[in-house]
């Protein structure tokens, strides 16, 4: 290879899908200068659902290997592998089968339980974990569809949750009004925190990735500060923990099950996101900006306004996750850790769900199952909970690297048969 630069656009795009008589040359973008990050994003989001499923499968297989090689019984048996290889094999099967078995039992259905309701208790508990992941995932996904990387889920959850929590323990509102006020406060808090990078990007061109990451730190330390002042700190306490949420403002359990009102609400959010993206004028404009901002601008769409709108809407959804954490999960008073990593897991959920509302729903559900079942796995099989995190991370890796997954399964490239 010499220094002669290959033309960037030379990897012709999607020649299989051409109309008869059409030349792939014409498909080449005349300007190859599409923003790099956007191109990668679009490539990731255009992958098929099959690819998502395969990514999960591969990740579970690698997770199994990890479980096997760290299992004490396997290590012991492998010490005399050549004498009795059968021991090692059965130890591996025991370790992996046991771990994934309890993941299933703890996260989905417990067949050993007596009665139907007792059997699906794990699934219902998983819905509780899935709820904030789905909400925040939707927020991130809407950002993606508008071409924005909202990495600030953590900050938006912290601010939204803090506002919801403050309303929840301090305002003397009656009955359901209290819950509604707290929820709305959470949505607004998230929206406000997400609006900052939106406005900065629209006005000055500051990149939202950098700004949202920095705002995560600011939100964290701001919350830390207020948790050490009477604003948020529980009266008479000297630890940085807030007062408990008032019973009025807690999301009520449904029919005595582990599921609270948050889950039906998040299903409504999925429907709202689907309507927004597919059926509304605003969603149409957001998608147009996300796919091709210069064409959108030429067609009279106000790209800056759409950037701000996308961030605000994204923040509303993420803010719901924050409110849910404080009003549904950690109701006995929150610290700075109540975001529970949801802000970042939501990015994974959005990617796994290909930024489509129902895709995000199922991806969030899967992660909820992982999380809930992971606890059982840790307790029953002494498998470190981090294995679950590794599996989740691998899923992102495989989704971000579709060619790798395709190569493993020998799938045909959907686009761009490069010569």
């Amino acid at each position: 290879m010499t220094g002669e630069a290959l033309p960037v656009a030379e990897t012709g795009r999607e020649p299989q899908g051409l109309e008869p008589g059409q030349d792939p040359q014409q498909q080449r973008p005349e300007r190859p200068a599409e923003h790099g990050a956007r191109r990668v994003l679009r490539e990731i989001l255009s992958g098929s659902a099959l690819l998502s499923v395969l990514a999960v499968v591969v990740s579970l297989v690698i997770g199994a290997i990890l479980i096997a090689v760290t299992n004490p019984a396997v290590i012991q048996a492998s010490g005399y592998f050549f004498a009795r290889p059968g021991d090692t094999v059965s130890a591996v099967l025991n370790a992996v089968g046991g771990a994934y078995g309890s993941l299933f039992r703890g996260g989905l259905i417990d067949f050993s339980a007596v009665g139907f309701w007792a059997g699906i208790q794990p699934l219902l508990r998983s819905l509780g974990f899935a709820t904030p992941l789905i909400a925040a995932g939707l927020g991130i996904a809407i950002g993606f569809r508008a071409g924005l990387f909202n990495i600030g889920g953590q900050g938006q959850i912290l601010i939204g949750g803090a506002v919801a929590g403050w309303i929840g323990f301090s305002l003397p509102l009656p009955g359901p009004l209290h819950l509604i006020a707290a929820l709305v406060g959470g949505l607004l808090g998230g929206a406000l925190w997400a609006a900052i990078p939106g406005v900065l990007k629209a006005r000055t061109g500051a990149h939202e990735v950098i700004v949202t990451i920095m705002l995560n730190y600011i939100a964290f330390y701001l919350l830390d500060y207020f948790l050490n002042t009477p604003v948020l700190q529980a009266p008479g306490s000297n630890t940085p923990v807030s007062a408990p949420t008032a019973p009025d403002a807690v999301l009520p359990q449904l029919f005595g099950s582990p599921v609270n009102l948050g889950f039906p609400l998040v299903v409504l959010l999925v429907l709202a996101a689907a309507y927004l993206l597919d059926r509304s004028s605003l969603g149409f404009k957001l998608r147009a900006v996300g796919e091709n901002a210069s064409a959108a601008r030429t067609a009279g769409i106000d790209v800056k306004r759409m950037t701000i709108a996308a961030m605000v809407i994204s923040g509303v959804f993420v803010g719901f996750a924050g409110a849910y954490q404080v009003l549904g999960q950690t109701t006995s008073g929150f610290s700075t850790a109540f975001d529970a990593g949801i802000g970042f897991n939501a990015i994974t959920v959005a990617l796994l769900g290909r930024s489509k509302p129902w895709g995000v729903f199922w991806a969030g559900l899967l992660f909820g199952v992982f999380q809930n079942g992971g606890y059982t796995m840790q307790a029953a099989n002494a498998v470190d909970l981090n294995v679950v995190s590794v599996v989740q991370s691998l899923i992102v890796l495989f989704i971000a690297a579709p060619p790798l997954v395709r190569a493993i399964f020998r799938l045909p490239a959907p686009k761009g048969a490069r010569a």
Binding site: P7, G17, P24, A295, G300, A419
Partner: protein, 504 residues
């Protein structure tokens, strides 16, 4: 060096871009590869240059079979290519660009720039190129940059030189100079492949002509063949090269540009005091070589340029400083120069692209909700009327051919009540059939009494469409002349020379 291609076949999935193509180019001959956009010329040359691997067939140089796994192999074997888009590093000097990729070094790894300089001078002198080895590429005019590409190829002792659409970026004068250079190279024994779809250049320079259509060689022609003969070979049917139009019946002044300046991000004027008037029912063609401010001028009209001074008035209504939305609402329609970049959202369906500029209100939006049924009915009607060849309105625009993509843009822009229509490079990269259709639509719009601006770098198109011609050079209007102005005068104006005694 003799080049021979035997039975080259290249497939992309179901599409055969090259179908058993045979081609022989002997030393000391200029061989023209003529074909429409998308006929497979560039694919063939990319196979030759090692960028693509042929599925069948072989490449022979001086009767020896070659196997190229990349451009490096092709260059070592003696094939040089002058790409349409130059492969030069703008901030490097000429000598640095020429040595790039096969740098020679002195002791301690220091670059031997002197050797490169000497090489550039030697080649430059041999062919009378007049290129300074120490000039930075970005400071050079386009025509000189192209010569640097040629020097680069020659410095690697290329025996076969491929010119891929080399005149697309040149003024007519620069084109003439390039043709001179090509003839000189031919006379010194180089085998030259000249890819183009411009008939006039072919007849001027070619020793032999091979015509390609739909990936197949459809015939050889003599340079003495008429334009009409070559064109019908290219497209497979007799085509009209001229546009059928009646004389314009211009009405009152509609669009008035008064001392318009457009500044780029560095504050440099790219449009420098343009004053123009377009009357209702006439086509004003803006001619000029790419990059002389035409793009920025049209963008300024539509509120797409951030720094504009002067006045832009449409039917007495001030457009200066308005947003894109307001300009569109004032009744302006726009076909942007780069349809894939500015005109369409490739991932969107045809229907979605048809409502792109009306995403806010009637007829496709009510109470913030899309009215998908109305949109579908509208899109069906447009699909039929504009003869957009697609499976349906749900087809993604990115999967359409260039001609059908442009029809989608036209179908959208011409579906509103227009008081101004601006089409920038409306037929760039289109096949002859689509060009005809686009031209008919533009003339029909004019005949409906709309003032029309057509920006084009193709003189043929300018002459065919225009009722009056404005020529731009370096951000200024060199002059506004009648449509029947001779081509050589227009060519001189495109190079910046004011027409003596010619007034609008």
């Amino acid at each position: 060096m003799k080049l021979e291609l035997r039975g080259i076949t290249k497939r992309f999935g179901a599409l055969t871009a090259n179908d058993h193509i045979d081609l022989v180019v002997t030393p000391g001959e200029i061989h023209c590869l003529l074909g429409e956009n998308g006929a497979g010329k560039s694919t063939l040359m990319n196979v030759l240059y090692g960028l693509y691997q042929a599925d069948e067939g072989e490449i022979l140089l001086d009767d020896e079979v070659q196997h190229f796994s990349g451009p490096g192999d092709a260059m070592r074997a003696g094939i040089g290519m002058v790409h349409q888009h130059f492969m030069l590093v703008p901030v490097f000097t000429v000598a640095e660009n020429v040595m790039l990729g096969h740098e020679s070094t002195k002791a301690g790894g220091r670059l031997d720039l002197d050797a490169a300089r000497a090489r550039v001078r030697e080649i430059s002198d041999r062919f009378g190129f007049d290129v300074d080895p120490d000039a930075r590429i970005e400071d050079l005019p386009v025509g000189v940059q192209q010569r640097v590409e040629i020097i680069k190829a020659l410095s690697r002792n290329a025996g076969v030189l491929v010119f891929d659409e080399p005149t697309a970026v040149l003024t007519p004068q620069e084109t003439d100079e390039l043709i001179g250079i090509m003839k000189q190279l031919r006379d010194s024994g180089t085998a030259i492949v000249f890819i183009t779809h411009k008939l006039r250049e072919v007849r001027e320079v070619a020793d032999r002509i091979t015509v390609i259509r739909l990936g197949q060689v459809v015939g050889e022609a003599e340079p003495t063949a008429s334009n009409a003969e070559l064109a019908s070979l290219m497209v497979g049917r007799a085509v009209e090269l001229t546009v059928d139009k009646t004389p314009a019946r211009p009405g009152a002044d509609a669009l008035v540009l008064d001392d318009v300046h457009v500044y780029d991000l560095n504050g440099v004027p790219v449009v420098d005091g343009v004053s123009l008037t377009v009357r209702a029912g006439e086509i004003l063609a803006i001619a000029g070589v790419q990059g002389n401010g035409q793009t920025e001028l049209t963008e300024a009209i539509f509120g797409l340029q951030p720094q504009v001074t002067g006045r832009i008035v449409l039917d007495g209504e001030e457009l200066t400083g308005r947003t894109v939305r307001q300009v569109l609402d004032a009744g302006a329609g726009f076909v942007p120069e780069d349809r894939q970049h500015d005109g369409l959202v490739p991932e969107f369906t045809i229907a979605e692209n048809l409502m792109l500029d009306r995403a806010d209100g009637e007829p496709f939006v009510r109470l913030g909700a899309l009215r998908l049924k109305d949109l579908a009915a509208f899109a069906q009607e447009r699909l039929r009327r504009f003869d957009i060849r697609a499976q349906g309105i749900g087809t993604r625009v990115g999967r359409l051919s260039g001609g059908n993509q442009q029809k989608v843009v036209l179908a959208r822009e011409l579906s509103r009540e227009l008081r101004l229509f601006v089409a920038a490079q409306p037929t760039r990269g289109l096949d002859v059939g689509s060009i005809e259709f686009v031209h008919e639509q533009i003339v029909a719009t004019r005949d409906a009494g709309v003032p029309v601006i057509v920006v084009s770098t193709e003189l043929d198109e300018v002459v065919a469409l225009a009722d009056r011609i404005a020529v731009m050079y370096r951000g200024r209007v060199v002059g506004v002349v009648p449509a029947d102005t001779p081509r050589d005068v227009l060519g001189l104006m495109m190079a910046g020379e004011a027409p003596q005694a010619v007034a609008a």
